[in-house]
């Protein structure tokens, strides 16, 4: 009955506020849920596209970078305890959608090809389904006709039905493959961007004759450990044996920093929504203080009052979360598109056909939404529980005393939290690179500044009232002073939203400027040549030394540099190895080394020893610095690589390290290159040289990108990566503005009698409107100032703690002054817009209402 007395029927008579609160929670939960689903789907899709295996496979042999000798298969399958072993060759095709140049490189869809042996027992489910759906299909055609199985989506998107041809690029070669089967959508464990072909066909397509990338092993489960040890003993250097679970965990780790950052950002919208819950419950506590006092006088326990208001928060939380789940499920398809774009650009191509609505994400969003709502309600609920029963009989001035104490207590609490935030920001990451204390510092700073709002409000409202001229300003500032709690919550919610906007804008702006400066410094060549079908790190390479020599002889070419990139494992974790000519880099390139290293002095070490220059993200993830060393499995055996220097890099957030080409040739026996940088001779026209190179390398299919185009591409990738963050902070601000509407509306209702009396005393309708706008102006201005201050703190945390610890990126601070003015003007304008409806309601209050109450 207490719930009915204090909450449910009250909410029915304050529909607008209840609705605004529910909408705020719903939107907050929806943002968090949509991002979480998108993250989970992208990760699952990415995992499945690189790791399609049959259910029974319990061990996998994996190559390091460029695969291993296929004769390993025979040795593995002869081992006792091995029930079956299937070879796999993987590679990526870039779909030929008719676009060329840098546009094609960005937009061309990547299809991950798995070359398998269909005669073995470990055929993935997708292939089994495709076979079943074609009753007349003869397995031998798969082998004889050198064809491919593709998903229905790919078949339809690229006009390659069963019996047709699939046109794509494999490295620098155009390929046309007969489509032998189409995989039905929704096949468990198979992503629509995965295609299957015979293992020998894959070796031909990707130029890896005699080599395998993977062996899927079904071992006797009772002898698993023993079989694993036996396989490990016979593997060539550079190959390793893992369980499929380990492999999925590796992929999850690779994406964790990215998904965690995005999830944290989405949770901010939820946090802002929680301020509204706090606000709604705080307002209802104040408005029902008389009823609470009555109940206390009649014998209701403090705990009963407390739990009644916590239940109010729970009702908002549960209903808002349910609505948020429905909205989030709908929005997830859009957020998935955004997240997937980033994952594809930053890590590897993958495509999800549909959002995966997993129970864990759903339960998490519901639990966080409902739990935070209850936690937000608990604060005003505790205040309600402390309402003295004597309040019912006569007001004795206790309210004012409580208010002063409230301001002092919150200010001190806020200060303590800010100090704790500073301490947390100095702590190292947890595990490999999870900036738990960085996030904690952000939360503490948000809470700390929020708790300072009553003090700031008092500091502004007291002199404002004292020195105010004119009725509206005097009355408006008096109202501000009289309701510090409710206004503080509204100011705090708007402050948090503005702060996130400021912080993300500074981060993105600084990061963008840093990238621009970095690309200007480091992209020294005039043209960059890659194969049309180049994946980020092609295991098989695309160009030979002969190609490089041919390009070097093209008129107008002053010099060429060749680059080889390989995916490798360092200490069990994925990393990217780059092989370059270090002497050339010293002469022409401009890697930004940290710690004042002289590249010329570095060159001999790099050339003659097993030394590497590691990127800052690599140094961060692996906890290494110059002078340290790590072990690298290579075809020439396990080699100890010494870290000669650390350089700044933003190209990937994994970890990259460079070794000299001579060292690479010695360790990997691999003469291929992935890309070639061309320096154009003075006086030669870049476009002419580009055309001449295309002719010189024919029939190879290459993409030649100019320096300017490549820089544009880097920024294009960057802008698309951060596009979703803009949407998220707009959501947060929209929620906060709802909070301002709700608060001003509540204040108008609460001051109804006062306003009626003022109308009776001669205040005009417009005067009442101005009183409301004075309050909105102060709320907006304080939120702007506090938001900018908190935003700067959060930006410091994001740039120097969270991103540094997550990705190892060294971002240079950039924030133009006009941006703060713009943000301030925007938040004040938003607060004034939010005041329109409450002002209209206030202006309709009639003077006669005052007489009726009297």
């Amino acid at each position: 009955m207490l719930l009915r007395a204090l909450v449910t029927r009250y909410a029915r008579s304050h529909v607008l506020r209840a609705a605004v609160t529910l909408v705020a929670v719903a939107v907050g939960v929806a943002s968090a849920y949509a991002i979480d689903l998108a993250d989970a789907t992208a990760v699952a899709s990415f995992s499945s596209s690189v790791d399609v295996v049959a259910n029974r496979v319990n061990l996998q042999v994996l190559g390091n970078g460029e695969g291993f000798d296929e004769r390993t298969l025979v040795r593995v399958e002869r081992l006792p305890g091995v029930l079956s072993a299937s070879p796999v060759v993987t590679g990526e095709l870039v779909m030929n959608d008719g676009s060329h140049g840098i546009q094609g490189a960005i937009e061309g869809e990547i299809v991950r090809v798995l070359g398998i042996d269909v005669t073995r027992a470990t055929v993935p489910p997708g292939v089994q389904d495709a076979q079943r759906s074609s009753p007349d299909f003869d397995l031998h055609r798969f082998i004889d006709e050198r064809g491919i199985f593709v998903s229905r989506r790919i078949a339809q998107a690229y006009g390659a039905p069963q019996g047709g041809m699939l046109h794509a690029f494999a490295g620098a070669h155009a390929v046309a493959l007969p489509v032998l089967g189409v995989i039905a959508p929704g096949t468990i464990g198979v992503d629509s961007s995965v295609a299957f072909t015979d293992v020998a066909t894959a070796q031909t397509i990707f130029g890896s004759a005699g080599r395998l990338d993977r062996i899927d092993v079904v071992a006797d489960p009772s002898q698993l450990a023993q079989v694993r040890a036996q396989i490990a003993a016979l593997l060539p250097s550079g190959a390793r044996v893992v369980t499929p679970k380990t492999r999925v965990a590796e992929i999850g780790r690779m994406l964790s920093s990215f998904t965690m950052n995005l999830a944290a950002l989405a949770d901010v919208a939820l946090l802002v929504g929680m301020y509204l819950i706090y606000n709604a419950v705080a307002i209802s506590v104040v408005q029902r203080s008389s009823e609470i006092g009555t109940l206390r006088a009649l014998g209701a326990r403090a705990s009963q009052i407390f739990w009644t208001f916590v239940a109010e928060g729970a009702i908002y939380g549960v209903l808002g979360s349910l609505a948020g789940l429905a909205l989030g499920a709908f929005l997830a398809r859009f957020s998935l598109a955004a997240v997937q774009t980033t994952v594809s650009m930053m890590y590897a191509g993958s495509h999800s056909d549909a959002v995966i609505y997993d129970w864990w994400s759903t339960l998490r969003a519901f639990a966080i939404g409902s739990g935070l709502a209850m936690a937000a309600a608990a604060i005003p609920a505790a205040g309600a529980a402390r309402t003295p029963a004597a309040r019912t009989m006569r007001n004795t001035g206790a309210a004012e005393l409580q208010r002063q104490g409230f301001t002092r207590a919150t200010a001190l609490g806020g200060l303590a939290l800010l100090v704790l935030a500073a301490v947390a920001s100095r702590l190292p990451p947890v595990g490999e690179s999870v900036p738990v204390f960085g996030y904690l510092a952000a939360l503490l700073a948000i809470a700390g500044v929020s708790l300072e709002t009553p003090l700031v409000l008092a500091v502004v409202a007291v002199p404002l009232q004292r020195f105010a001229r004119g009725a509206e300003l005097t009355i408006g500032s008096a109202f501000l002073r009289a309701s510090p709690r409710r206004l503080s919550a509204a100011i705090a919610s708007l402050t948090v939203a503005v702060a996130m906007m400021i912080a993300i804008s500074i981060l993105v702006g600084s990061f963008r400027s840093t990238i621009v400066a970095w690309t200007n410094d480091t992209l020294a060549a005039d043209l960059y040549i890659g194969s049309r079908g180049a994946a980020a790190a092609d295991p098989h390479g695309n160009f030979t030394a002969a190609t490089a020599a041919r390009i070097a002889r093209v008129p107008g070419v002053a010099a060429v540099d060749t680059i080889r990139i390989l995916d490798v494992l360092v200490e069990g974790r994925p990393a990217e190895l780059g092989a370059i000519d270090f002497s050339s880099l010293v002469t022409r390139g401009k890697l930004r080394f940290l710690g004042g290293v002289d590249p010329a002095a570095l060159a001999p070490q790099m050339r003659d020893g097993d030394a590497a220059a590691i990127s800052l993200p690599f140094a961060t993830h692996f906890g290494m610095r110059a002078g340290d060393a790590f072990w690298l499995d290579t075809p020439a055996g396990r080699t100890r690589i010494r870290v000669a220097a650390v350089y700044n890099d933003y190209s990937t957030n994994g970890g990259t390290f460079f070794i000299d080409q001579r060292t690479f040739a010695r360790l990997f026996h691999d003469p291929a290159f992935d890309s070639i940088a061309v320096y154009v001779a003075p006086g030669a026209r870049i476009e002419d040289v580009r055309s001449a190179i295309e002719r010189a390398v024919a029939p190879l299919q290459v993409d030649i990108t100019s320096n300017v185009e490549l820089r544009g591409y880097a920024l294009h990738v960057f802008d698309r990566t951060f596009a979703i963050t803009g949407a998220l902070y707009i959501v947060s601000i929209a929620i906060a503005v709802l909070g301002v509407i709700s608060t001003l509306f509540a204040l108008v209702l609460e001051r109804r009698v006062d306003l009626a009396l003022l109308r009776y005393a001669g205040l005009t309708r417009n005067g009442v409107v101005r009183v409301v706008f004075v309050q909105a102006l102060v709320v907006g201005a304080l939120s702007g100032v506090l938001g900018i201050a908190l935003g700067l703190l959060l930006a410091l945390d994001l740039i120097y703690v969270i991103n540094r610890q997550s990705f190892g990126w060294l971002i240079e601070w950039r924030s133009p002054g006009w941006f703060y003015l713009q943000a301030f003007a925007m938040v004040v304008a938003a607060a004034l817009v939010a005041a329109i409806y409450p002002a209209i309601v206030a202006s309709r209050i009639r003077a006669s209402e005052a007489l009726r109450v009297e």
């Binding site: 204090l6 009555t294 109940l295 209701a300 003295p388 029963a389 009989m393 006569r394 206790a398």
Partner: protein, 222 residues
């Protein structure tokens, strides 16, 4: 004999140094109706709050049924109010979101009584105060006199030993005021102790004793 209400030498001040009560002692016997009289600000409501364990004195002590309440926890005082004290407020203080019957039922709900018992006793209490037909109405839909009768029904439904009334007729016309005083007198005849803070001469005349307060002290007792 243990007196239902015994106030011994209490003093109470509020913020800003306002001394509401200063060395006041009084008692109310079982079945006795006592009126607190005096001008506004003399300390009547404060004394009522102290006697009803709604507030605590700065010094002195309040005994309910012979037990000193000074050492009681908040929960202890709450339980005491819930079980032993009924209160009639000047402005009725019915919860606007609950019906008249639900308001009257509150003390029994807070005691955790069974639904059937609550329903029966609420019906009886509403009948006793003459507003049975208003059981389902919300407070906003009934007259001031009916509100105060509902408030009295709420104050007596759990049969408390003590009923406190702060200006119970202050917002009523004379006919309704008289009816409310009749109801309070009826409670006193049933053995309940009634303490009324009032400005009304009519209410004071119904009391067995009248305590006159001025500036936080007892001036006379008649």
């Amino acid at each position: 004999m243990r007196l239902p209400v015994c106030v011994r030498d209490v003093a109470k001040s509020y913020a800003g140094g306002v001394r509401a009560l200063d060395g006041v002692s009084m008692e109310v016997g079982a079945g006795e109706m006592v009126a607190l009289l005096g001008p506004s600000g003399c300390g009547k409501s404060t004394l009522l709050n102290l006697a009803g364990c709604i507030d605590l004195p700065d010094t002195g002590e309040v005994l309910i049924d012979g037990v000193a309440t000074g050492s009681f926890s908040d929960d202890g005082l709450t339980k005491l109010r819930r079980d032993r004290i009924g209160t009639v407020f000047q402005f009725f203080n019915l919860l606007p979101t609950l019906s008249i019957a639900e308001n009257v039922a509150l003390p029994l709900v807070l005691q955790g009584r069974r639904r059937a018992e609550i329903d029966a006793r609420v019906a009886q209490a509403l009948d006793d105060v003459g507003i049975a037909e208003k059981a389902r109405a919300l407070p906003a839909m009934v007259s001031g006199g009916q509100l105060q009768r509902a408030a009295i029904a709420r104050a007596m439904i759990h049969e408390p030993a003590i009923v406190l009334a702060d200006e119970p007729t202050g917002n009523l016309d004379s006919r309704n005021g008289e009816h409310v005083l009749d109801l309070l007198a009826q409670l006193a005849r049933r053995g309940q102790s009634i303490l009324i803070a009032t400005h009304s001469a009519e209410a004071a005349s119904r009391a067995a004793r009248r305590i006159h307060l001025r500036d936080g002290r007892i001036e006379t007792t008649t």
